[in-house]
């Protein structure tokens, strides 16, 4: 593999990693704070994509400029977070926080099943494709290979912004601290005056917005069709487990490893490209049982 190919693989890996990172970010946030592995995250991702494609298509049909697709992505993400994420937490999850974790997980699994069918009822089975946002930004040619600006530059930059933003928010703002405290011990948090219900609702909505945003950002690069959420959810699970629980930086590194691993596999050994996320996960956990950035738990005896 020469330097050119190496760089090409690097670019591909980064842009792919950026997208899975954004999706995994919401998942790891929810998991980190609420200890719930939200299987419905995949559906929220898919619905974010569908909503963006529909809204953009509608906007274009009204004759607006394609760049307006970008604000619409944000709008879709927020709609997903508020209209779906909010009620899921508020009506369902809130009732089972005191129950075993596996029940919480299954509630999200049930929501996943429901939303899969809802998507099909609303958007049908035909794939959607709405790439005007991506076309609006044009292409760049690097080393004789053409890339879309959207994938090569916009996605990685956005991922970085989200990473830093969320990090600063959680570590350096008071709300962030209160969220972290609630994460560790819901009842103790309440006993010092933290409204854990609000924290959870807020977190879940933010996580859902991130899922929707992931879908919105993915929408111009992919066909949107039934089942797209299921694939994404498994991938993001792999990312957050590799990363270590609730680890935001870890998720970034894990997403990069998986993204790069995949793109290098395409160059070097295409047969294993599919296996890459799982192999990376097994290898990482073999060496670091708490995940890349996970830390051993505090003493208790």
């Amino acid at each position: 593999m020469n330097l050119t190919l190496f760089l090409l693989a690097l670019f591909d890996g980064i842009s792919y990693a950026a997208l899975i990172f954004i999706v995994a970010l919401g998942l790891t946030l929810i998991f980190g704070v609420m200890r719930i592995l939200n299987v419905a995250h995949g559906s929220l991702y898919a619905i974010g994509a569908y909503a963006t494609a529909s809204l953009t298509g509608w906007m274009l049909s009204l004759g607006f400029a394609p760049v307006l697709a970008f604000p619409l992505m944000l709008v879709s993400a927020i709609l997903v977070g508020v209209l779906l994420g909010g009620p899921i937490e508020w009506l369902l999850l809130r009732r089972i926080y005191h129950k075993p974790e596996v029940l919480q997980l299954l509630v999200t699994f049930a929501v996943f099943m429901i939303l899969e069918d809802v998507q099909r009822l609303v958007w049908g089975t035909q794939p959607y494709f709405q790439a005007s946002a991506l076309q609006a930004l044009g292409n760049v040619t690097v080393l004789g290979v053409t890339y879309t600006v959207y994938q090569l530059i916009l996605l990685p930059v956005l991922a970085l912004v989200l990473l830093l933003g969320l990090r600063v928010f959680l570590r350096h703002t008071i709300i962030g601290k209160l969220i972290l405290a609630t994460t560790e011990d819901r009842e103790a948090a309440q006993s010092i005056g933290i409204d854990a219900d609000r924290v959870f609702l807020f977190t879940f909505i933010v996580g859902a917005v991130l899922a929707g945003l992931g879908g919105a950002l993915a929408s111009p690069t992919t066909s949107i069709l039934p089942g797209m959420g299921a694939d994404m959810i498994v991938l993001s699970f792999a990312v957050i487990a590799t990363a270590g629980l609730g680890q935001i930086e870890g998720a970034a590194v894990a997403a990069l490893m998986i993204g790069l691993g995949r793109s290098f596999a395409v160059y070097l050994w295409p047969e294993v490209a599919v296996l890459v996320p799982y192999l990376i996960m097994v290898l990482v956990l073999l060496v670091r049982p708490e995940g890349l950035f996970g830390s051993p738990v505090a003493r208790k005896i």
Binding site: L103, L105, D117, E187, A188, L245
Partner: protein, 346 residues
């Protein structure tokens, strides 16, 4: 320094569903035993009374065995998203055996499958018992997905997504037609359900099984009782793999074909789903859950094909929110064997 396993950090461990079978040794036969016996009798009568349900129930029982495997793991407070792995390994072991040796005996196929599951359970287990919680679940998922990819990739050997056909095995040397063979499989499934279910119940109540269940609440103490939590988990893990494996073998022979779909993660999730539906941690619940699930699913997909998933999801939500003890919880409530409410906490 030694590190504590992540799962035991929940600040207030909360009791969930039946931790032990704390049946008081009273003289009269508990309603639960009577109901179980009636249920088994009803199943035995199925081929004569409602033959059209025979296949469905046969498949459900096969799946119920796999769910039983997942249930065992749940008792240790762990959730596996990859137990379909053993389901598939065993089914494929049977398929390879039959294609290498056409006309192999049913019992041989079953034993080969269980052995395959046991060996792979031991190997995978040696690795995954180091982890708890989501890591445990995800690593199981990873192994099942790796196996899934292998099945899809090496399609010259595995038939890829189309899978492998299992020609009908002989039964004690006899070649049978479909109807006879299916009847035998059906009763075999019932026998296995009764036998393995009984064994699992006894195992769970025995010291070994009780030790296994302590993993859910306190591994530190387990270590300070002089035992290795990993080894304790491994014992139950292998048992659960074998149970899944027997289910997989049965399923393969009943369907006549094995496909990579057998190990797909959604199938693993479905097993967990059924385990909770039946009553998380309940041995009988595994089978009751599987029967109810299959029936609901068949009828939902037959009469509301567009929204069967939606219906199933709603069904699950209703169970979790309103009957968290699962179907067994409801049944126990009806037969007055409700747990003291003190055990449902805070």
């Amino acid at each position: 320094m030694t590190v504590r396993s992540p799962d035991t950090t929940a600040p207030h461990p909360v009791a969930s569903h039946p931790p032990t079978s704390r049946t008081p040794a009273s003289g009269r036969v508990p309603a639960r035993h009577v109901l179980t016996a009636l249920g088994i009798l009803a199943l035995i009568a199925v081929p004569f009374v409602v033959p059209q349900l025979q296949l469905l129930i046969n498949l459900a029982l096969a799946k119920g065995l796999a769910v039983l495997g997942v249930t065992v793991i749940l008792r240790a407070g762990q959730v596996s998203f990859g137990h379909a792995l053993f389901f598939g390994i065993s089914a494929y072991a049977g398929a390879f055996l039959i294609s290498a040796w056409p006309g192999a005996d049913l019992i041989v196929v079953l034993i080969a499958g269980a052995l395959g599951a046991a060996v792979s359970g031991l190997l995978v287990g040696l690795f995954v018992v180091r982890y708890r919680g989501i890591f445990f679940g995800m690593l199981n998922l990873a192994f099942s997905m790796i196996f899934w990819s292998i099945l899809e990739k090496f399609y010259h050997y595995t038939g890829g997504a189309d899978g492998i056909r299992l020609t009908r095995p002989t039964v004690l040397g006899h070649e049978l037609g479909r109807a006879d063979f299916e009847l035998i499989l059906f009763y075999l499934a019932i026998a296995l359900m009764v036998g393995l279910g009984w064994f699992t119940l006894r195992w769970l109540a025995s010291p070994a099984g009780q030790l296994f269940q302590t993993l859910k609440t306190n591994e530190t103490r387990l270590e300070y009782l002089g035992l290795s939590p990993r080894r304790v988990l491994l014992s139950g893990y292998v048992l659960s793999a074998v149970l899944c494996g027997v289910g997989g073998s049965l399923m393969g022979m009943t369907q006549g074909v094995v496909t990579p779909e057998y190990v797909w993660w959604v199938r693993s999730a479905e097993m967990v789903f059924i385990a909770v539906l039946g009553g998380a941690g309940s041995v009988r619940g595994a089978f009751v859950g599987a029967l109810v699930y299959e029936i609901v699913r068949i009828y939902a997909s037959a009469f509301a094909a567009d929204i069967w998933q939606l219906l199933l999801g709603v069904f699950l939500l209703v169970i979790i929110l309103f009957a968290p003890g699962g179907i067994m919880g409801i049944l126990d409530g009806l037969t007055g064997r409700a747990r003291p409410a003190g055990k449902v906490l805070k």
